[in-house]
Symmetry: C2
Subunit: 327 residues, 2 copies
């Protein structure tokens, strides 16, 4: 196959666009798609401070890399979730990338700050791991962004991720979730920053190709807690369709943004107020993260009854999630 | 496994309901689901004349059978589409069932009435076969029902069919089609009868189980034109999910009816008028079926230029689709 641009040997096929590129022109294609996402959806402009949610995986490192290359002011934030060697390796890959590029990586450390990891949060509050983990990440990315003066948090969700999440929400017709699925979620509260997904036009394998071509060393393993996750099943089903009809995922997600989302948007009428414990925006009196961490701390105290009290078992006060600059 | 009702040996498992039944109690379950569909959705009442769209397959014969057993006034209509041995076998199975049960089967014969089959309609008008076939069936079922004084047309679409169609419409966000997908489409014009799908609560394998238990001999082969059809691909993808999470199809389709459809219904604002050729309701001046059959007849005339004119090549007049009572 030939590169669409230079007619040299193609290295990456983009079947849903009926095209292929050599390394150089694939990067050009990738950049253009990301720029179209950022500009077309008014995600942010040069000069705004962007906090990139970095996991050490291909998507988030590719995102951080492309944003810097395109001249945006992007800082990474790595959250240590405390998931054994997976977290260790993720952290190490994130640090290595930041070091090699001379970039600043902020680190928020859940086991250090809260005395337990997200799996313990999950067990103590009878959530599934992915729920406790997702809640923690959403909370901390926003909180760190607000505390550190970032205007926007960018995550590495790609087209495959978004299509799979959409598919799951459609399978269960979770209209409130549908209403909140978009490449840009604007700030609707002074302490809620804008959330953006600059890779929503990029397929998963294109993000991997970008990382490989750019020489980015990323963690290949999926999180061990994701084994059997519904989202992977949804991806399998969509991959089956994509193989038979390239462009299916794009059609599903972009069609939703254009024609489906306007229908459900009226469903999203949550009123935000301040969590009475941490001050972060929430629809309840106490935000979900504070409820989770407090309940988890309470269980931990009960279990350790008789043990010497630990700093992390602070009862009603949530420790300030002040991440240390690392990397 | 044990029957949920009598604790005897179960023969049919209904995984999405976490249950299983012996033959006798499965039929009871099936009847109850169909009654719930008919009564809950106000499809029709005893005494109304129901025209059942009969293809000779498991779904339509099971539907006809259960409606008669439940005491409804159901007459079958078989449409000969002219698809080679598939149509011949379909016809034969439909006739055999009607004969065995002493039921009246109406027959509409497309090759006889229009001088060509649905594949020739498709070729002549550059449609895919399934499009020409679907259009012909929708048109003729309605027209025969109106001409013969039926209040309602019932089709054998099951839960798997409906979930697959919904999935396809969602993958392409065809909001007009989404608005028109429902177990009941009310009559919105004096010459448009109500359309109902009494098996929408029944999974495909349950319809097959019903037909087998009831000793109904049905055509097992799929239509040869459906090979590679997208709808089969959508079914494969949904089956993958159903296997991992029984109830997925039900959740997708029922959730749509409850929470999705109300959002898209406003999209369906077509105004119907009378086709100037056949008088059937249409959104255009000439209905899609007349446009297709006229164009097909025109092409046929061009191709046969010089041949002796045939009765079926009548230029502007569509032959009256007066089906002969058969069976």
């Amino acid at each position: 196959m030939r590169c669409q641009r230079c007619k040299g040997d193609a290295t990456v096929e983009v079947r849903r666009h009926h095209t292929a590129f050599c390394n150089e022109h694939f990067i050009e294609f990738f950049d253009r798609q990301v720029e179209r996402a950022i500009e077309g959806e008014h995600m942010f402009v040069r000069g705004e401070r962007v906090l990139v949610a970095v996991s050490g995986g291909k998507d988030s490192l590719a995102l951080w890399d492309v944003l810097r290359r395109l001249g945006y002011d992007a800082t990474g934030l790595y959250i240590n979730l405390g998931i054994g060697t997976y977290s260790e390796e993720s952290h190490q890959k994130s640090v290595a990338f930041a070091d090699a590029q001379g970039l600043e990586l902020l680190v928020a450390d859940i086991p250090h700050d809260y005395g337990m990891n997200v799996e313990e949060f999950a067990r103590a509050t009878r959530r599934v791991s992915c729920s406790a983990c997702g809640l923690s990440k959403r909370y901390l990315f926003n909180r760190v962004a607000v505390d550190r003066g970032f205007q926007v948090v960018a995550t590495g969700h790609n087209l495959d991720d978004e299509a799979a999440v959409l598919f799951g929400n459609l399978l269960h017709w979770q209209t409130e979730y549908l209403a909140r699925q978009a490449p840009v979620l604007p700030s609707t509260h002074p302490r809620l920053v804008r959330k953006v997904k600059p890779l929503y036009r990029i397929a998963e394998r294109e993000a991997a190709a970008y990382a490989i071509i750019r020489g980015i060393d990323y963690i290949v393993d999926e999180c061990p807690n994701s084994v059997g996750a519904k989202s992977l099943l949804y991806k399998d089903a969509l991959n089956l369709l994509e193989q038979a009809a390239p462009g299916t995922k794009q059609s599903l997600y972009w069609g939703f943004l254009e024609r489906g989302r306007p229908l459900v948007q009226a469903q999203d009428n949550a009123t935000l107020r301040d969590c009475i414990h941490c001050g972060q925006p929430t629809t309840a009196e106490v935000c979900a993260f504070c409820r989770m961490t407090e309940r988890a701390a309470e269980r931990m105290r009960v279990r350790r009854a008789g043990d010497a009290p630990r700093a992390a078992d602070v009862p009603d006060e949530v420790p300030a999630a002040a991440p240390s600059a690392g990397g």
